[in-house]
């Protein structure tokens, strides 16, 4: 029969892994009171070239007007934690700054956000854009010139429901709330 001490020592790695996983989980989870977002910065060019495989799950970029570009490269993909009325800034590769402000989590679960893109202490590009977006559904700001191409910036707030049944239901049969 295996001695007790041996059995305990064999279990230790598993116990340690469990402890580490337990401690790490809260650090990875979204902090209370914050909404996680993602800013996708893409350099798009009309010249033929490579389509970044990281964009395979962004079908919107294959539709007009973006289908005019024949090459796309992901320059950065920073994640942001948004709090209501707390501006969050993302540095863009052309020296401008994108500022995001989560204005409101609406009663229907959508997010109302304000976006501006300008050089520091200037108001030179996009003074104000206010968008309402469903969790996980993107919106795009495009048109800035950069390195012979055009910057396409996709912004996604929150996480889309991953339940495929729910997704199919949404497409299948909208019903009124009673």
């Amino acid at each position: 029969m295996t001695p007790l001490s041996t059995r305990i020592s064999r279990c230790l790695p598993a116990v340690a892994a469990l402890v580490v996983a337990t401690l790490a989980a809260p650090a990875q989870a979204q902090r209370p009171g914050t909404v996680r977002g993602e800013v996708l910065v893409v350099l798009a060019k009309e010249a033929a070239g490579r389509m970044d495989p990281a964009l395979a799950n962004v079908p919107a970029l294959r539709r007009p007007p973006f289908n005019a570009f024949r090459s796309m490269e992901v320059l950065s993909r920073p994640r942001v934690d948004l709090r209501v009325n707390r501006p969050t800034t993302v540095e863009l590769p052309n020296g401008r700054r994108l500022q995001l402000v989560l204005q409101q989590v609406m009663p229907d679960g959508r997010y109302r956000v304000r976006v501006s893109i300008n050089r520091p202490n200037q108001n030179d590009y996009l003074p104000l854009l206010q968008v309402v977006a469903s969790p996980g559904d993107p919106f795009f700001v495009a048109g800035q010139s950069h390195q012979g191409g055009t910057l396409v910036i996709g912004i996604r707030i929150g996480e889309r429901r991953t339940d495929p049944a729910a997704s199919s239901m949404r497409a299948r049969r909208p019903t009124k709330r009673r």
Partner: protein
Amino acid sequence: MTVERLEDDKLQEFFDGELPEGEAEVIRREILDSETNRSRLAALEQLRDLLVLAADDVAAELSADDLYAKIRKGIDAERQGGEHRTLTAVEGGGARPVEGWKVWLPVAAGLAVAAAVLLFVLQPGEGVGPTEEQPELRVEADEPGMTVVEPPAGSEVEEVDFGANVGTVFEIEGEAGEPIAVVWINDEEPEQATQ
């Protein structure tokens, strides 16, 4: 001779002149022989006078304060002159309850219950339909006892300020047909060197 207390209906019919001549005469004698019945008839007359007074005041478009003062005066006169307190003013809840509480208390309780029920029924999302400010929600049930609330899919531009630039707002279709907002702004300024 002891005269019995007249029935309320009979007294009211006599007061209104609705009794036949013979019966009216009998009732008149009974009233004359009874202090109680006389007081009750006097109270009816006072009440009628108050109503006439109020009607006249309304017709003359008197202020509510004047009207209340006159009614109050009539009540006081009745209180001083008669042994029966058919009308009593309640001073800001400080006066003792009067016979009227038997009517007003159930009415007030009923109103409170109705208000509570109304508030409960009109809880947001529990019976109020979608409004312009609150877009329609989509609710589905995956399983019994489980409800999934789906916000309207996609994104939309509510407000945009292009500043000195020229821009366009597009709406492209997402995978499930949802609208995806695209804002395209021409970059007129020469690009600065990237750090």
